[in-house]
Homo-oligomer: 411 residues x 2
Amino acid sequence: MKINLINIGDELLIGQVVNTNASWMSAYLNENGMRVCRVFTIADNADEIKNALQQAMSTADAVIITGGLGPTKDDITKHTLCQFFSSQLVLHEPSLDNVRSIFKKRNFPMTPLNEAQALVPECCRVLLNKWGTAPGMWFETDGKVVVSLPGVPFEMQGLMREEVVPLLLKKFAVESIYHKNVLTFGIGESFLSDKIEQWELALPENIRLAYLPKDGVVRLRLSAFGSDSVKLQQQVACEVEKLRALVGEYIFGYDDDTLESVVGKLLSEQGMTLATAESCTGGTIAQLLTSVSGASAYYMGGVVAYANEAKEQLLGVKHATLEQHGAVSRQTAEEMALGAKRRFATDCAIATTGIAGPTGGTEDKPVGTVWIAVATPSGVEAQCFSFGDDRSKNVMRASYQALRWLQVKLG
Amino acid sequence: MKINLINIGDELLIGQVVNTNASWMSAYLNENGMRVCRVFTIADNADEIKNALQQAMSTADAVIITGGLGPTKDDITKHTLCQFFSSQLVLHEPSLDNVRSIFKKRNFPMTPLNEAQALVPECCRVLLNKWGTAPGMWFETDGKVVVSLPGVPFEMQGLMREEVVPLLLKKFAVESIYHKNVLTFGIGESFLSDKIEQWELALPENIRLAYLPKDGVVRLRLSAFGSDSVKLQQQVACEVEKLRALVGEYIFGYDDDTLESVVGKLLSEQGMTLATAESCTGGTIAQLLTSVSGASAYYMGGVVAYANEAKEQLLGVKHATLEQHGAVSRQTAEEMALGAKRRFATDCAIATTGIAGPTGGTEDKPVGTVWIAVATPSGVEAQCFSFGDDRSKNVMRASYQALRWLQVKLG
């Protein structure tokens, strides 16, 4: 069952508002076995609406429109729908009662503009909006469905959950969809693709694979389509097992996992604590770790040692080490990690020191050079990495790399 | 001059990724005097791409496509464009050199998939991608332009800034637009709106105002439209002066300024140094400060003192203070700031301690309670703030509030 979305709103087309309605609706419809094939984002303009509606209806079983239903003059959706379906506006008493009761509750006076919100095309089925003043509308024509909803996210979401999706499921036979995300780190998209090529080619026809790379993490999304949801889950679990055999060493988690959450989980399970010592990552590892609610159970804190003096004073890095090997070196990274472990009295520590860029690079140590050290109860180790030219990307890559390395060590 | 966008990506249609490319592109084109009329979000599928391209070209002067250009098999855009423009793929040597140099720098071996990224339709003008491996492509047909860009945001943004928009401005006659952003902090959107209502109503017809709120910062964007760009700048400067008279106390900067950059600039100008002591903000202030290139000149470092022991050991907060007043208190915040100032031997320090949530709140100190302290050569002060329920929002608000307060003190 195919659905096209039309999101109406000038604010979307000047980039003032990000179209989160489209992503919420797509995800929710998808969870319910319906596939969004296309999203049209268009201006608040009668011709545009008619034109998009025609195009959208030509390739889908149902079209859901959001926006253009507010009380102010620039909202013309309702009149356009009347024209489109050769209908006329009539007063819908239950909707008028709803608008009245909302105004009464807020203690606001009603204006004629507000009353007009209860006018709906005669040919539609009204979807009562418990969350706001603009009613939803359901049209049927030639076996196809057109739904019009307000653009306010929580009103749209309420109507989708309680009215639109139940009605769609009643009207259309719907296929099941099951998604599983396999999260990898430390291997580029193209190398990953090479390693799993044969597996990918042999995937059953009803399973699709997508690569979603970000900040060094490549998310592999498997989507299985079929009629039996239990069978789909089994089928996907079986494919994930094969994938693990091929690239298991790069997999750090599944679905909503993050590197900071899996490291936190491991530390919690093992009753261990962690401290950080950051130079080039400037507090990003601390920020990632503390973005997980409950991190205070295992994360004791960290030092952002941007200046050499701070590396000496707060982390106990030896002056001679900095003199002899420089701040960006194996020795400094190791002493930073050990210093953090000692100062915060933790079981583990991670340290970073490098050249994030854009300045500060030398021939020996170009921008993107980062030493990462990990200290655990069994000792300390450091590795050198070469990232790229972009400051903020280098910081993210180095931060995730450090977390990933700790995860492997704790694993 | 009208532009339609086509964003390709299955991940957009299952709601896994929000289409921020569309909003960024719309805003950027708008700033440059071009209007986005429609956005098509479509699947990674040849027929869909052809169909959307046909529809998009019928109503716009230029169509910009993003996505579908990665090295892996699910990317079919390039082949579809070849068919559409009756062209064939040929090797583009400069793009191959670009791919090679990127792989050489990262010390990765090239695969045939990577080499194939340098294949482009013979009829296109290649837009060299300095930020990644997939080249941008510029097609012209019947006076219309079609551009294809990679979907990775920073690659797309780099190509838009340095190639696409300059070329579009050369080809099409575009009205002048002049934008000025006035950045405020510490006042909500509706209060700000009340204070500047009369000024807003009296704005000249060719100047538009937009409110863009994020993390406690409200960006006021003035956009002036006309033929004479010098006159537009004068006109806007005059309106900004009136605005300063009304709400100057909330204005912290203009255009691309950020709180971290204006604080950095002030510290540099005054030859002062800064350290941070963060509890509830978990390294976010450090991260913001170090995201500014050159921050090492004034930012010495910081401590993320998540555990009470860390507050004592690393910042010298007295055990008695923590016992008597608790970690979330004026006294602890002040001792943290003074401790950081002393340990890092800086002129200034900022400290945060609070309850980010979602757990940890009490009746006395509910979630969102944050003490912020600022130490300067003239002493230390602390203030208590009440933010909301949302963990990540609380962290951002508190971080910005701390920076804003230091700015005011240094100002």
